[in-house]
């Protein structure tokens, strides 16, 4: 078996996910949080590609990865627009201060 097997991909993907999660949780700046989310999305996209490479004969997983990337781009655009809007409204994009959803 190759040295690079599915476990390698899994580990990379897991690390990407954990980094993304960590970023998402710890960052106070909303832009940082969005960057973390992008990382989590990429770990998922990596998983698609990896599973497709090792278990299926066609390229469905890779295709999905491309979709995810496209969607992530669109999402980032929307998120940045939202952030701009929030900043214009509150003069700040610190996540700790945006707690108007508190019960």
């Amino acid at each position: 078996m190759d040295i690079i097997n599915i476990n390698s991909y899994m580990i990379i993907s897991l690390m990407l996910f954990l980094f993304g999660l960590f970023t998402t949780i710890t960052r106070r700046n909303i832009i940082g949080i969005i960057l973390g989310i992008e990382l989590i999305l990429n770990s998922a996209a990596l998983n698609f590609a990896a599973f497709s490479k090792f278990s299926a004969s066609n390229l469905e997983g890779q295709l999905f990865s491309i979709f995810i990337i496209v969607i992530a781009a669109a999402e980032a655009a929307i998120a940045l627009a939202l952030m701009l809007s929030i900043f214009m409204r509150h003069g700040d994009i610190n996540a700790d201060k945006l707690d108007r959803l508190r019960g």
């Binding site: 998402t24 949780i25 710890t26 707690d99 508190r102 019960g103």
Partner: protein
């Protein structure tokens, strides 16, 4: 003329009610503006018009060779399936005689009242009532069916009540009026029951014979007298509630006894006689008209009208005869011991009514009606004479303090004497013929019995005795006015001493007296029995009504013997009266002291009032007390207990509601509130915290999945 009565016969009834209307509605204004005269004239004239039409009706019926019923139909009053009641008036020989008596005597008494009531503040009221009475009495007499008769029956009772209590400011008058009304209610109840039983049983019989279709066109009336007379035979042998025939109780007997109860109430027979003596509290013309001549004879008239019914029950006839004879005797004994001039006459009336019932009870209907007629004349004459005396003596009515009035009041005396001889049964006055016919029938009729005759015979003697006593104590001897103890009673005569102010009454009072006395003399001649060479035209005149009861008399020597006997006992009564109260004035006191107890019993009217008072009035009071206690303790107790239990129950359910139901609601609310308060702490609004929760939640799930 026949068609005139057929079309306009109702005018007889209409005129008096018109008078009552005028005097009743406008009387006060008329009296204030024009005085008393127009009131008396209006009242008397209306009755006089009625009298004239009555005479026409009478002559129409008398001239008719085959007198048949003549019906004046006015309008249809009720028409409910089988109950068809018309306002129709039935003219036949019986009602013709009655309307003549009612309007004739009534007219004379109206005239008399003009003088008698002079100066009374209620003058207009008196005449309105009197006219109303004539109206009611005529309705009673002329009614074509039993329902209309009942209206008249109640109407005369009402007028009697109103007139007894005419001077209502005196308490005893008001009480006497109430007494008369209440006692009459008892009788009226019986009368109504009789009508209802008659209707019920006859309806059943007609239905059983499949004859209901005859009623479909609405021209037949179940309770009209002609229909009853034709169809009463259907009730022959019908049992009452299945009681077998041989007991003598049948539906006919029940009806007759119910109706007779009504008659005892109206005509003051035992046991409902107690109201009549007290009714003397009313003005004297009222006593003469209502309580002697007309209303009290309604019971006799009713039995005569329904003779076909009574003839079918010999049990009922026997009871009627027995009650009549007993009442005649019983009231006569009381009459001997009374001191109030009007009360003596009242008991005499009861006694004479007893005679009439005796006549009815032995199926001698025409004899009963004959005596009714003669009695109307002589008793009205006696009462009006008494009224004349009362006016002269300023309403002193105790005969012990009268006496010697013969000199001052010759006309009153003479008429009173004639009437006394008439009621005593001295020939050739009318009372002799009518009383004798009843006595003869009481012995000889199929329903008669010598015992009945004997009771009537003794009563005749007593009648002669007490009437002589009354006459002697009132008109003869010396005037005893000064001997009146000042403290005895509240008479008006105390302040007048001597007899110089006693005057004969005015012509308006004496003329009716003379006319009545005249009729008291001659009225008997229309009914002279065959045995005395007469033709008993009265009996033949009533023949079409009473049917086969008039038969050709066989000349029985016994009849002459009985006739002689009754003349003898009448003379005996008069002679003993003269002996007791004129020749040996000390004798009555001696006899009274010897038979003290008997005298006291008789003087107190056999304590009948006291017994009734004890049994009915006190008995009712006791029942009332018991019922009140029952109400207070048992009924109220039950109600209070129920209330108490309900309060307890509601308190329990109230607290249950407060603790459990409300508690549950509050508990849910509190729980939700506290849960919310706990939960809101989690919702910080910080997105990263949420992600943390999300992540650790997922970790927990994953770990759970791995471990288990």
């Amino acid at each position: 003329m026949r068609t005139f009565i057929e079309h306009y016969g109702f005018l007889i009834v209409l005129f008096p009610v018109l008078g009552a209307f005028i005097n009743g509605i406008f009387g006060r204004q008329i009296q204030n503006k024009y005085g008393e005269k127009p009131i008396g004239y209006v009242a008397s004239l209306t009755v006089f018009f009625s009298f004239i039409i009555s005479v026409i009706a009478f002559s129409v019926i008398a001239r008719d060779p085959q007198p048949s019923a003549l019906i004046c139909h006015v309008y249809n009053w009720l028409n409910v399936n089988f109950v068809r009641a018309d306002v129709s008036f039935l003219f036949d020989p019986l009602s013709a005689v009655m309307i003549l008596i009612v309007t004739g005597v009534g007219f004379l008494i109206h005239i008399y009242s003009i003088g008698y009531m002079k100066g009374d503040p209620g003058y207009y009221r008196f005449f309105a009532y009197l006219n109303l009475f004539i109206f009611s009495m005529l309705i009673l007499v002329l009614a074509e069916n039993m329902l209309l008769m009942f209206i008249g029956w109640e109407g005369v009772g009402l007028c009697s009540y109103l007139l007894i209590g005419f001077w209502y400011s005196k308490k005893e008058n008001a009480i006497a009026g109430n007494k008369a009304f209440i006692v009459n209610r008892v009788g009226d109840f019986g009368f109504l029951l009789g009508i209802l039983t008659l209707f019920w049983s006859l309806y059943n019989q007609i239905a059983a014979n499949d004859r209901l279709a005859e009623f479909s066109n609405g021209t037949l009336s179940l309770l009209s007298f002609p229909f009853l007379a034709e169809n009463i035979h259907l009730l022959k042998g019908v049992n009452l509630f299945g009681i077998p025939e041989y007991t003598g109780i049948s539906v006919i007997t029940a009806i007759c006894l119910f109706l007779f109860l009504g008659a005892t109430g109206k005509s003051a027979q035992i046991p409902l006689h107690v109201w009549l003596p007290d009714a003397m509290a009313g003005p004297t013309p009222v006593s003469a008209l209502i309580h002697a001549a007309t209303m009290v004879t309604a019971g006799i008239y009713m039995i005569g009208r329904l003779h076909f019914l009574f003839s079918m029950s010999s049990v009922a006839l026997g009871i009627i005869a027995a009650v009549g004879a007993l009442t005649a005797l019983f009231a006569a004994t009381i009459g001997c011991a009374q001191n109030d001039i009007k009360r003596v006459l009242a008991y005499s009336t009861i006694s004479q009514l007893g005679y009439m019932f005796l006549g009815m009870g032995v199926a001698a209907y025409s004899a009963g009606i004959f005596h009714l007629m003669t009695h109307a004349f002589f008793k009205a004459c006696l009462f009006l004479g008494a009224g004349s005396v009362l006016i002269a003596l300023h309403h002193e009515n105790d005969i012990r303090w009268m006496g010697g009035l013969k000199r001052y009041m010759p006309r009153t005396f003479l008429t009173f004497l004639i009437a006394t001889l008439t009621i005593s049964g001295i020939p050739p006055f009318s009372g002799f013929f009518s009383k004798d016919e009843i006595l003869w029938k009481a012995w000889s009729s199929d329903h008669g019995h010598p015992i009945l005759w004997f009771m009537g015979f003794v009563a005749a003697g007593m009648t002669a005795f007490y009437m002589t006593r009354l006459l002697l104590m009132t008109f003869f001897g010396e005037n005893r006015r000064d001997q009146r103890p000042r403290d005895a009673g509240g008479g008006h005569g105390d302040q007048h001493s001597g007899s110089h102010d006693i005057r004969e009454s005015p012509a308006s009072m004496t003329v009716p007296l003379v006319i009545l006395a005249f009729f008291a003399i001659i009225a008997g001649f229309i009914g002279i029995p065959e045995a005395l060479g007469g033709s008993n035209r009265f009996s033949h005149f009533l023949g079409p009504v009473f049917g086969s009861h008039v038969e050709v008399q066989h000349h029985d020597p016994l009849e002459y013997i009985l006739m002689a006997a009754s003349v003898f006992i009448a003379l005996f009564g008069i002679v003993s009266g003269v002996l007791f109260y004129s020749i040996k004035p000390g004798l009555p006191a001696k006899i009274v002291s010897r038979i003290k107890i008997t005298y006291d019993v008789v003087y107190n009217k056999y304590y009948v009032d006291e017994i009734y008072d004890f049994v009915f009035v006190s008995g009712t009071k006791v029942i009332i007390i018991i019922l009140a206690a029952f109400d207070q303790y048992v009924i109220d107790g039950i109600v209070n207990l129920t209330g108490f239990l309900l309060r307890c129950k509601s308190r329990i359910s109230g607290s249950f509601d407060l603790r459990f139901v409300d508690g549950a609601v509050n508990f849910i609310a509190d729980t939700t509130l506290s849960t919310g308060a706990g939960m809101r702490k989690i919702q910080t609004g910080k997105i990263q915290a949420y992600i943390m929760f999300l992540f650790f939640g997922m970790v927990v799930f994953v770990l759970y999945k791995i471990i288990f």
